[in-house]
């Protein structure tokens, strides 16, 4: 291998490290989102217990 | 019959998990005077801001002159006068300059004369050339009322018009409201307590838990003319 293999290796490592980190970031945001969703679900469950009439309809897309 | 000036259908406003307004229905015709009462944070100001097109509702419709308030064209905007918590006045301009500026914005025929007249009407003729920066809150409030009514709007939205006004000031503003109703404008105002304005039949609504409800009018409250606004003062 040539003299510049270190540069090549560094470049490709960095690409994959950054991609990996971004995937991790997306993952963590998904966890936060899921937690938020569970809070909402709990609120909704409490609501349906309280009165069946007060149940909100499903969200439509683009709302 | 003419179309209603204000028509609100099923209006909703929420911020995150908190609701401010819900199931709000309201129809006001030209020449109607209505007051909305309710505690702090009840949503009174929000309702006025939505009607002025400064805020978008979360659901339902708010129509002014039959137009959705989210996209009000200039010719409808010019027929709305809003007197909000903030006075919209420039502190470094004098009272006269402020009114002349707004008169020009509304392309009134004679801005100088118009400003002059309104300064007289709100009792600020003597301080016409003082900068608003030096005004007391009450004086600023009077000037703010003049600013809102300058272009003789067909719909007058007043947010706490009597706040921080002394007795004379409150009477001046009450007279202006009466004048507006008499010339056929529709007036919608908010206040803390049940207001009385001599010679004007007022509808009173209350916002409670986000809903707007017609308030049972207290007949015994109508005594002795003048104004008895602002319960709890």
């Amino acid at each position: 291998m040539g003299a510049h293999f270190g540069y090549l290796f560094a470049a490709y490592s960095i690409i994959f490290i950054v991609i990996f980190l971004y995937v991790m970031l997306i993952w963590r945001r998904q966890a936060a989102l899921d937690a938020e969703l569970r809070t909402l679900e709990a609120r909704m469950a409490a609501l349906t217990e309280h009165s069946a009439a007060g149940r909100p309809s499903e969200p439509r897309s683009g709302a | 019959m003419s179309a209603p000036v204000v028509e609100i259908r099923n209006l909703e406003k929420t911020y995150g998990l908190a609701f401010v307004l819900r199931e709000v229905q309201l129809r006001l015709l030209a020449g109607a005077g209505a007051f909305i009462i309710g505690g702090n944070g009840a949503g009174k100001s929000t309702l006025l801001r939505i009607l002025a097109g400064l805020e978008a509702p979360s659901g339902g419709h708010a129509l002014v002159f039959g137009q959705d308030t989210r996209r009000l064209a200039a010719r409808y905007r010019r027929r709305i006068g809003l007197m909000a918590h903030q006075s919209f006045l420039y502190p470094n301009l004098t009272a006269r300059e402020n009114l002349e500026f707004y008169a020009e914005l509304y392309s009134l025929a004679d801005p100088r004369e118009c400003a002059h007249q309104w300064l007289g009407r709100v009792g600020l003729a003597e301080v016409a050339d003082t900068r608003v920066r030096a005004f007391s809150r009450g004086m600023e409030q009077r000037l703010s009322a003049a600013r809102a009514m300058l272009a003789e709007p067909a719909l007058l939205l007043l947010d706490e018009p009597f706040a921080s006004l002394d007795h004379d000031g409150a009477e001046i503003v009450a007279a202006l409201i009466r004048g507006a109703v008499e010339r056929g404008a529709c007036v919608l105002a908010t206040t803390h307590g049940i207001p009385e304005i001599d010679g004007v039949e007022l509808a009173v609504f209350e916002i409670s838990r986000g809903r707007l409800m017609q308030h049972a009018h207290k007949e015994e409250g109508r005594r002795g003319g003048r104004i008895r606004s602002l319960l709890g003062r």
Partner: protein
């Protein structure tokens, strides 16, 4: 049209009354030039390239300050809402604000040019006349951009910090062209040699004045 004149007249009157912005702009321009003279060292002081660069640095910083201050006047007492409620067209409001910003910047620039000549040991000669159109084009472009973007940053938290972060990268092409053309003008090069740079600046100005005019209603709208 009367709305345009009313807003512009109001802004100029407010400025004449306090003189705050223009003074602040001039002071900042002077400070930037002084800092650059020290930073560049005595060896570089007589170079026209350094002078042109310093002038534009001063202009960018002063312009940023001016844009922030122009909006401040409208934020007091929520006056901007009063303007938006009035029949005034948002595009007209943009045009008036752009004109006001341009005038303040032009005044500050005249001061900055005089200081540049003094600090960088240049002469008041014909090159100043060649510099004028370049600075005018630069000020138009910067005002157009800063007026649009300050309406955005003025309504967000920490907006004063955000304004330079948003404005400077977008302003880069006009900045490159402006510095190059100014250096050429100061070194006495013929007018034709600046032609391409001036074309870039004209393109920038046309694009961003149009963009601001069309997009302003979206950044000042309600909610």
């Amino acid at each position: 049209m009367s709305g345009f004149a009313a807003v512009l007249r109001k802004d100029l009157r407010l400025e004449l009354r306090s003189g705050e912005s223009t003074l602040a702009l001039l002071a900042l321009s002077m400070l930037v030039l002084v800092v650059l003279v020290f930073a560049l060292g005595a060896a570089r002081v007589r170079s026209v390239d350094a002078a042109a660069g310093a002038l534009w640095v001063a202009m960018v910083f002063a312009g940023m300050l001016g844009a922030n201050r122009a909006l401040l006047a409208e934020r007091d007492n929520g006056a901007i809402r009063g303007l938006l409620l009035s029949p005034l067209d948002p595009s007209t409001l943009y045009a008036a604000k752009l004109c006001a910003a341009f005038i303040f910047m032009a005044v500050a620039e005249v001061g900055a040019v005089i200081l540049m000549v003094l600090f960088f040991n240049l002469d008041f000669d014909a090159s100043m006349a060649r510099l004028a159109p370049i600075l005018v084009l630069g000020a138009i472009g910067f005002s157009a951009l800063a007026t649009l973007l300050s309406a955005i940053t003025g309504r967000t938290r920490g907006g004063d910090m955000l304004l330079p972060i948003l404005v400077v990268p977008i302003f880069v092409p006009a900045l490159i062209a402006g510095v190059k053309a100014s250096a050429a003008a100061l070194s006495g090069a013929p007018f034709e040699s600046m032609g391409d740079w001036l074309k870039i600046m004209i393109a920038f100005d046309v694009l961003f004045v149009t963009a601001g005019y069309l997009l302003f209603e979206h950044v000042v709208g309600g909610d």
